[in-house]
């Protein structure tokens, strides 16, 4: 038995600690989701199961507007981030090392390392100036900011997929009379597709979930789902928030699960 590999399960207390972590992580979410089905107004006073709060949320124009903004923002940001990340991943894996490749790596992954609040403040300073100068208060600022911090999340699965790809396939395509574009369209892109889709989904969720940067950069009257929820919490705490949070949770879980399934398959 002594020659067995190191097994964390045999450490004293490991199981208890792990269970405790899971309970602390998931019990609040379970309570939240359960409460979203509570007919009553007061938390902890169970008055029966219903979709009352969901119905109310779906009739709430402010919520619907915020949801719409969030979906548009997340779609645009994820799209831009994915295209940029795909090009970056191709450049860093396909070319035989170029000057500044290491720097590009750091710049690409910077948003993961820099504290979000710092990035938010830095962006606020510049964007406030631009807003004042141009008078434009639309969604554009958020789209650009979200695209930027979503790039590393889109980049990771795409790069992983590219690194696992057999380069002889592209050589073979070239040997079989395919030009660069035809090879990319018929060989590289289809093989890369699961990575690109996974990257898009990850970026989408990251954008959908963002509070700090959105809250700093949004113009008056503009709200994404998270900033709307934050505002509602400050004003009136009703079970409608639980219903909205549960919906948000459901979307995130579905997308992350989808992305995980895509990257796991056939590699």
């Amino acid at each position: 038995m002594a020659d067995r590999a190191f097994d964390t399960r045999r450490l004293p207390g490991a199981t208890v600690l792990a269970l405790a972590c899971f309970v602390i992580l998931y019990i609040p979410m379970v309570i939240l989701v359960a409460n979203s089905f509570n007919t009553g107004k007061v938390i902890g006073q169970w008055e029966g199961v219903s979709l009352h709060w969901y119905a109310r949320a779906l009739q709430n124009d402010a919520f619907l507007a915020a949801a719409r903004t969030s979906l548009i923002l997340a779609s645009l940001a994820a799209l831009i981030a994915t295209i940029t990340a795909t090009m970056a991943a191709l450049a860093t894996t396909r070319s035989r090392g170029f000057r500044g490749e290491g720097t590009i790596h750091i710049v690409l992954n910077q948003p993961i390392m820099v504290p979000e609040i710092v990035l938010a403040i830095a962006l606020l300073i510049i964007i406030a100036q631009i807003k004042q100068a141009t008078g434009y208060t639309g969604l554009g600022y958020l789209v650009i900011a979200h695209s930027a911090f979503c790039i590393p999340f889109a980049y990771m699965p795409i790069r992983a997929r590219l690194e696992g790809m057999d380069l002889t396939l592209e050589t073979a395509a070239a040997d079989l009379y395919a030009g660069r574009l035809y090879t990319f369209r018929k060989v590289t892109l289809p093989l890369l597709a699961p990575g690109i889709l996974a990257g898009f989904m990850l970026a989408f969720v990251i954008s959908l979930d963002d509070v700090v940067i959105s809250d700093f950069l949004k113009s008056p009257g503009q709200d994404t789902l998270p900033t709307y929820l934050l505002g509602e919490l400050r004003r009136n705490l009703t079970s409608e928030i639980y219903a909205i949070s549960s919906l948000l949770l459901l979307i995130s879980v579905l997308i992350v699960a989808g992305s995980w399934l895509l990257t796991r398959k056939k590699t």
């Binding site: 396939l169 079989l176 009379y177 395919a178 018929k186």
Partner: protein, 354 residues
Amino acid sequence: MLDLHRLTKSFGKGDSAVTALHEVSFSIAEGEFFTLLGPSGCGKTTLLRLIAGFEPPSGGALVLDGRDIAHVPPNQRPVNTVFQNYALFPHMTVAENVGFALGAQGRPRAEIAATVERMLALVKLSHLAGRKSAALSGGQQQRVALARALAARPRILLLDEPLSALDMKLRKEMQVELKRLQQETGLTFIFVTHDQEEALTMSDRIAVMAGGRIQQIASPRDLYDQPANRFVAGFIGETNFLPAHCTAGRLTLPQAAAPLPVPHADGPVTVMIRPEHVALGQARPDALVLTAQVDRLVYFGTDTHVHLHLSDGSPLVARVQNALRGGQPCAAGQTIPVSLPGEALRLLPCDEAA
């Protein structure tokens, strides 16, 4: 049809540069099954990559049908490759793989479909046309790779050790199959291998390579019977090498019974003789007769290998056909005469390393 003129390839720059090919020159004729044979690192795969266009040469010319294609990109050369790992597109079906080259050339759909059908029939895989290529066995993938490379009717088909990933039995079958395909299509094949048996059984001509240079180009029979140097003699088949000396047109081995007349310049030489030509006993009048001691006998079914050594210690192997009756030709420890027929002796320059 294909002419190589002083084709050279170096990797790296300055002092760290490594030359993989040294001024290689030869010509390949239309419809020939031409093999590049050599140990790993001899430059045969590099040469193939230059012909396919995956690498540009550092110097020299590569002339196909009168046109220098040394710097033409691979997708504009009428040359297709069967890769060592097959490199089938995993996201496409067998039919899509085979039709890829024609699709890239922008041929009409009906023509692609007809060609794919014909190619799959040629490699006997018509029943698997709709299967994904990842779901095939090694031998089937091999056939798809062949059909794919043949579909656009290249001027030359390049094969990069295509049989090395197959097991022994399948490899033998594919050797026959490849030769049949080459004869049926009438195409020129350039085949790369490190397996001398593969090279001998399939090729019209073989180029033996070592250290980035061509050692000899000849038909399988000439390569075996008339090797140009010690490397070729040792690489193809089994061989005995004996140190000898030429003096005044006569050949003398250290303990030769009778010097033989040989047209060769005076000086030390290496004598080569295949084990199957070494005869036990005082067989023939024109033979060089030596005395040797038997070390051991190894039974091989069709024949027995007799390992001997001469009085100066040089090892010598004789291959003796096994008769239906008669038992062993000799016994270990015996000292016996062995005959080396004059016509079977080959003289090689002795300064070369093996």
